[in-house]
């Protein structure tokens, strides 16, 4: 921890905080991410999104994950990491394509080097290692940052990915957002390890845990891990300890498995308030700047709202277009059948 929950530098924080520019950028990012989470929450209540797994309260992790990467680097997000994808520069409306129900992945992964949001837990982690290894073979100095949750660290793919990364010394940073729950299952039922960061040890990977609501500390730990990977020193595991303030998704009822007191306790450790307090106390942030950040966040929310509310009828042809490079004869037949049905329906109207 570099900043305590009240926004005061800790002993470790004195002298080793990231520079003011990075902190301001992080704050702006978190304010936008929070606003994006709120907006998506409204859209799901209005029935404009099929489902929304919110990262409300986890904005420091979301923003830091994007901020520590260089332009050509890769990010591998989960379903919960929409705000990280937005922070990385992916269009917010496209990011929500999956959750709106238009298509499985709403953006071009190669545009900002952001892999599709992945739902089958931990399955994206071996992909991240493959991308990193290919980057080395191709002689680029790309680093891959792969995200997952605390629950996902129980899956076999998590362990296999760590082992592969270690054996191939792949330039990957595994970033676990430990938000204390996997849907209803608390961390204590998930793992008996002293920490999730310990899970690197058996594979020969350094593990480090960090206060996941302290943006300064996250930037510090994650950038060091990214730099280290870039120099060829191998992968690293970082556990960010945070909290899922809202239910797992809008479809979940969190009151069934946790107390309001626990949520209140964590809400007091809010990542945004903490950094803002510090930056104001240091005279780095003033009202003008704060208003500009809020304005920019509002802009993102506005664009998100507008884009999601604009209905573009998905094209049925798309169902058949991307299954193979060339549709099989059977798919050609099946598409013709759908078109015929639709034109007959049209005729009935």
């Amino acid at each position: 921890m570099l900043l305590d929950p009240d926004g005061r530098p800790t002993a470790a924080g004195k002298g080793s905080l990231p520079d003011a520019e990075a902190l301001l950028r992080g704050l702006a990012g978190m304010i936008a991410a929070r606003r994006f989470n709120e907006q998506a929450g409204v859209l799901v209540r209005q029935g404009r999104l099929a489902v929304y797994p919110s990262s409300y309260g986890q904005e420091a992790c979301q923003v830091a994950a994007a901020q520590v990467l260089a332009d050509g680097d890769w990010l591998f997000p989960t379903y919960r990491d929409t705000a990280a994808a937005v922070a990385r520069g992916v269009d917010p409306v496209e990011v929500l394509g999956l959750l709106k129900g238009d298509w499985h992945s709403g953006y071009d992964p190669y545009e900002r080097n952001v892999a599709p949001l992945t739902t089958p837990l931990a399955t994206q982690l071996p992909h991240a290692v493959g991308v990193a290894h290919a980057a080395r073979l191709r002689g680029t100095r790309t680093v891959v940052l792969a995200m997952c949750g605390d629950g996902a660290t129980s899956e076999g793919d998590f362990h296999e990915a760590l082992n592969f990364a270690a054996v191939f010394r792949a330039p990957v940073v595994f970033f676990v957002q430990n938000n204390q729950y996997a849907i209803s299952v608390p961390l204590a039922r998930q793992s008996a390890a002293p920490s999730l960061a310990h899970k690197g040890v058996g594979y020969g990977i350094p593990g480090e845990h960090v206060d996941g609501n302290d943006l300064a500390a996250l930037l510090d730990v994650l950038s060091r891990a990214v730099d280290r990977a870039r120099t060829g020193a191998g992968p690293q595991l970082v556990e960010g300890r945070t909290y899922r303030i809202q239910a797992h998704t809008n479809a979940d009822d969190a009151t069934r498995y946790r107390s309001d007191d626990e949520v209140t306790e964590w809400a007091a450790k809010d990542p945004i308030a903490r950094l803002e307090t510090y930056l104001r106390a240091e005279g780095i942030l003033d009202d003008t700047r704060a208003a500009a950040f809020a304005g920019a966040a509002e802009e993102v929310a506005h664009r998100t709202r507008d884009g999601i509310n604009r209905d573009v009828e998905p094209n049925p042809d798309d169902l058949f277009r991307f299954v193979y490079a060339e549709p099989t004869p059977q798919l050609v037949e099946q598409l013709a059948m759908v078109r015929d049905e639709l034109s007959r329906e049209e005729g009935h109207r």
Binding site: A50, V51, L98, L99, K100, G101, D102, W103, H104, T119, P120, L121, G151, A152, S154, E155, G156, D157, A182, I183, S184, V185, R189, Q190, S191, A251, D252, R256, Y257, P314, P316, D318, L319, F320, V323, T328, Q330, L331, Q334, V338, E341
Partner: protein
């Protein structure tokens, strides 16, 4: 063992499954229910609601988040005297368990020349129609039905959900129990019972008819029945067979039904290529050839990954599609 229907209740499919688990847990101390979020939360579809509170953490519990682990753990439990009932949270999230299912669960009896039995159940909420995003709507029955050593069942209503789950838990063989998600909330009359009765393997004629037979299972039975109702208004009498069990397959009931009408359409939501629907069509074609007035038709999902919510209506067998197929069955008056 004897079966006595003790009482009737009106329950949703989810409640009927819950009741089956509860009755099995109460009657047999070796029954264990586990999986992801099945404990205090009661499962994401509430099928295990209240079971941890009633039977304690040793009988109904959350596991770490790892499907291969869950399935492999079940193998060991079953090897040592337990009757595990595991839940896979959604169809596509059972795939990490595939290795355990195919290489161990399905093969243990055969490998050990009958010495080691695995009386376990893998419950899988399956199929679509609920507006779910990717990986939440797969119809994965063909993978399981294709694997010798597994029983595969799929109820289409609350009464069968209850009785089939009781049967599955009583079965000496592993059972993949497919629960059609979109039917979880549908209500119906359920006959409750006590005692074990391994009764998997019978299809039932859900609706009598004389002109053609619709063969369906699980999530596709209600749409087949609806199609038969619409056809009746147009003067065509369609019979509906509900398979209930894919493995074992009830050739006798299916062929009897098809022979009585001379025409057949298989209705299933899964992609049609190399599917359970294909197996059914092939069997009927081979066995009922001389009674058939037309080739057996299939109405299935297209051979594509399950569509996103906005397009899923195009994938699901609809009344219109079923009636179009029926119209194609070479009617003399056509």
């Amino acid at each position: 063992m004897t079966t006595i229907a003790v009482e009737h209740e009106t329950l949703s499919t989810a409640q009927a499954l819950n009741r089956a688990l509860r009755d099995a847990l109460a009657e047999d101390p070796t029954v264990l229910v586990f999986g992801e979020d099945v404990g205090p939360l009661g499962g994401v579809f509430r099928v295990t609601d209240g079971l941890t509170a009633e039977f304690g953490e040793d009988r109904c519990f959350d596991t770490p988040l790892a499907e291969a682990g869950i399935a492999g753990f079940a193998v060991g439990l079953a090897m040592n005297g337990m009757r595990p009932v595991m839940e896979m949270q959604f169809d596509a999230f059972a795939y990490p368990a595939f290795e355990q299912v195919v290489s161990h669960i399905a093969k243990m009896r055969n490998r050990t020349r009958g010495r080691v039995e695995l009386p376990l159940v893998m419950r899988v909420p399956y199929a679509g129609g609920i507006g779910g995003v990717e990986h939440h709507c797969d119809s994965s029955e063909a993978y399981f039905a294709h694997t010798p050593g597994l029983h595969v069942v799929a109820p289409s209503n609350p009464a069968d959900a209850y009785s089939l789950l009781r049967d599955a838990i009583a079965s000496p063989d592993p059972v993949v129990f497919l629960e059609p998600k979109k039917l979880y909330w549908a209500k119906g009359d359920v006959a409750l019972r006590s005692g074990r009765e391994p009764g998997i393997g019978t299809a039932v004629v859900r609706r009598q008819g004389t002109d053609a037979t619709l063969i369906a299972y699980g999530s596709s039975v209600p749409v087949a029945i609806e199609a038969a109702e619409v056809a009746a208004r147009d003067g065509r009498s369609l019979q509906v067979v509900d398979l209930r069990s894919l493995v074992p397959f009830d050739d006798a009931t299916v062929c009897g039904a098809v022979e009585s009408t001379g025409r057949a359409v298989v209705v299933a939501e899964a992609a049609g290529f190399a599917s359970v629907a294909s197996e059914i069509a092939a069997r009927v074609g081979e066995r009922c050839f001389h009674s058939l007035s037309a080739p057996v038709r299939r109405v299935t999902g297209f051979d594509i990954p399950y569509p996103p919510p906005k397009l899923e209506h195009l994938q699901l067998p609809s009344v219109d599609r079923i009636l179009d197929a029926v119209d194609d069955l070479q009617w003399e008056d056509a």
